[in-house]
């Protein structure tokens, strides 16, 4: 036991004197988790909380056109900036001037064309009901296209949301015109406004729930997604320090002496792993505390901790053991500190990418599924999300923990074989 305590003490002293390694293991993930959560949160707010500035070049002065603008403003998604149609040729400069992400152009007589089409549709409908003998023009009118211009910085997902929003508003106007047209065709008089309002009132409402193990689950936010993901990333980034520490010891004269001592190097490796497991637990405590108590002060959503803390500790320990086993493998097979830190950090980024840290696992291409499931990040994230987003119980996360335990055992065996092959242990 005394030998083991001495090894633990030695590893701890080496660790606390490696300031660059400590900075990499603590500062880097803290910065990452804050930056990534802030970015994702502001993206969420851009779509959901903030109004998107839209320039409107309206060449249709009809009452319906004015109704469209009112509906567009009331919808809550857009901040409408109306610009004289004659200035359309300066669209690029005007978008820059007003910080607008999108511009919409309505051509002349657009809504009167829509009304004419509605009358044709109403006549056709009445004829099919046998209520009238429609006469006159029955040929469909080809509506001009609405011209939407986007700022090039806008990603496709945001363009899709904006197009969807505009489409919905335009559909409301089209429905209004259709109802009014049918009413006036049948009743030979204008439809009263109150009646039109009643008809247009939407009966469809959504009640949003998130699947969870308990009824009062919190709605997932950017912190719930990012904090566990980047904590896992931080755990694996210990590869730079632990892998480098192992290579340094392996290549230094001290290793020759260690081989000649009447104590197995495996005891030293065990001490190394325990000290770094302590580092990982400290990382988790620091990053989770920032999510819980510092994020709200930074106007970021608070990290809601899972109720099952025992399961959380279990997940942290297994993920940490996985990260340490990975670092051990890198340390055993790398031939220089540069190799350990270079290959170690790049491989962590690749494993994280496959495991769903950067892009959610469900959005991964089909071809990547197998590789994704070989990444410890995938199983680690599944386990963390099970606790943070669904409040799962211990028994429920065992399914995602088992592959992690198997991966860790395989990594440990690989490291041991490497040590034997290099005659570093007997």
């Amino acid at each position: 036991m005394f030998k083991f305590t001495a090894a633990l003490l030695k590893e701890f002293r080496l660790l606390v004197r490696d300031r660059v390694g400590l900075a990499l293991m603590f500062l880097m993930p803290i910065l990452l988790v804050i930056i990534m959560t802030a970015i994702q949160n502001s993206t969420f707010e851009l779509i959901n909380d903030n109004k998107i500035p839209i320039l409107l070049f309206n060449n249709d002065n009809s009452a319906t056109s004015k109704d469209f603008v009112r509906t567009l403003e009331k919808a809550g998604m857009f901040k409408v900036i109306q610009i004289n149609f004659k200035e359309k040729q300066n669209i690029r400069a005007l978008m820059h001037k007003h910080d607008a992400l999108v511009a919409l152009t309505i051509p002349k007589a657009y809504f009167s064309q829509m009304e004419k089409q509605a009358q044709i549709n109403a006549a056709k409908a009445l004829e099919s009901f046998g209520m009238a003998n429609a006469s006159g023009v029955k040929t469909n009118i080809s509506l001009d296209s609405l011209d939407i211009s986007f700022q090039p910085v806008l990603q496709e997902s945001y363009r899709y949301s904006i197009r969807g929003g505009l489409q919905s508003i335009m559909q409301i106007i089209a429905n209004k015109i259709m109802i009014k047209s049918l009413y006036s065709s049948i009743n030979q008089k204008e439809m009263p406004d109150d009646f039109l309002k009643d008809m247009m009132k939407s009966q469809v409402t959504f009640k949003q729930t998130t699947l969870s193990n308990n009824d009062n689950a919190t709605i997932p936010n950017a912190s719930q997604h990012n904090v566990p993901a980047w904590t896992l990333f931080a755990m694996f980034f210990t590869v730079v320090s632990l892998g480098g520490n192992m290579v340094k010891e392996k290549l230094s004269g001290s290793f020759v002496r260690l081989k000649l001592l009447p104590t197995s190097y495996m005891l030293g490796l065990l001490a190394k792993q325990l000290v770094y497991l302590g580092v990982i637990i400290a990382q988790v405590i620091v990053i989770f505390s920032i999510g819980k108590w510092v994020f709200p002060c930074m106007h970021l959503p608070e990290l809601n901790m899972p109720t099952n803390l025992f399961s959380l500790l279990f997940v942290v320990l297994v993920c940490g053991w996985n990260a340490i086993s990975f670092a051990l493998c890198i340390g055993v097979f790398a031939q220089s500190q540069e190799q350990a830190s270079g290959f170690g950090s790049v491989s962590v980024v690749i494993l994280a990418a496959f495991g769903g840290v950067f892009v959610p696992a469900f959005a991964m291409p089909e071809a990547f599924t197998l590789i994704m499931k070989a990444s410890p990040f995938y199983w680690g994230l599944e386990s963390f999300y099970g606790l943070f987003l669904e409040n799962r119980m211990f028994i429920d996360i065992l399914g995602t923990m088992l592959p992690l335990i198997i991966i860790a055992i395989l990594l440990q065996i690989t490291a041991f074989i490497g040590l034997k092959a290099q005659k570093l242990v007997h």
Partner: protein, 250 residues
């Protein structure tokens, strides 16, 4: 030189060594007995096989054939590992730790208890002139100070045999004097010294018996003074050049 078993510290019997399968045999059929309490020197030009021979005697390398024993024990027993100390040519310690912390760690791994570590550390640090800097990180030390702590770690468990691979390379005269004086003192107290160096004046001062090896074979093995007298040379350097020639060795 024939030695009785009870008087032998290290025994090599028909030892051969090959670095890679396709390479020619590097050390060929070496048999050597080193007496208890000897101050034994292993000399030879660069690439002659000195460090390889010492590495086999300490168990760092395994011989292709033949056997090696320390006081009659197999070299690969954990008990045999307690019998010897090794002072390698490269610095073998943790430069981020202090001398005291290095001695604490290695002492524990040699199997010493807390009290023994405390006593031995204080004794060695005082004798080797490192007591005042015992709490400073080794990476800030001069070459001579590093050599002295390298020696202290190798001998802190009071080994019966001490293997010294160029223990004074690159140090100033004061540090060299301190190291050699202390090694003689250890030998006077019963330790067997097995030493290799290119510093032949120092070797003349330290060694009693020597072996000269070249191209993997023993070319001379005897009492140092007898060997010098036999070849009518003034010192070890003349003897060395006479037996190994003047050609460059790389």
């Amino acid at each position: 030189m024939e030695l009785s078993v009870e008087n032998t510290a290290v025994q090599l019997t028909n030892v051969s060594f090959q670095y890679e399968t396709n390479n020619p045999t590097f050390l060929n059929n070496i048999s050597l007995s080193i007496a208890k309490n000897d101050r034994f020197g292993i000399f030879g030009p660069n690439g002659a096989g000195k460090t390889t021979l010492m590495s086999m005697m300490t168990g760092i390398l395994k011989p292709k054939s033949g056997s090696i024993s320390l006081f009659g024990n197999s070299l690969f027993d954990n008990d045999a590992k307690r019998l010897f100390g090794y002072v390698p040519q490269d610095f073998a310690f943790y430069p981020e730790l202090t001398p005291k912390e290095n001695l604490q760690f290695y002492g524990a791994w040699y199997g010493l208890n807390k009290q023994q570590i405390k006593e031995r550390s204080e004794e060695l640090l005082t004798i080797l002139g490192l007591y005042d800097v015992r709490n400073k990180q080794l990476k800030k030390f001069s070459g001579g100070m590093k050599r002295r702590i390298n020696l202290a770690i190798g001998i802190m468990h009071r080994p019966q045999i001490i293997f010294l691979d160029e223990p004074t390379v690159g140090v100033d005269i004061q540090s060299r004097h301190a190291i050699v004086t202390y090694l003689k003192e250890l030998n006077a107290n019963g330790s067997t010294l097995i030493y290799t160096s290119h510093h032949l004046k120092e070797a003349e001062d330290l060694c009693q018996n020597v072996v000269l090896i070249d191209e993997g074979v023993i070319i001379a093995h005897d009492n140092m003074q007898d060997l010098i007298d036999k070849h009518e040379e003034n010192g070890l350097e003349g003897l060395f050049l006479k037996l190994t020639g003047n050609a460059y060795r790389d």
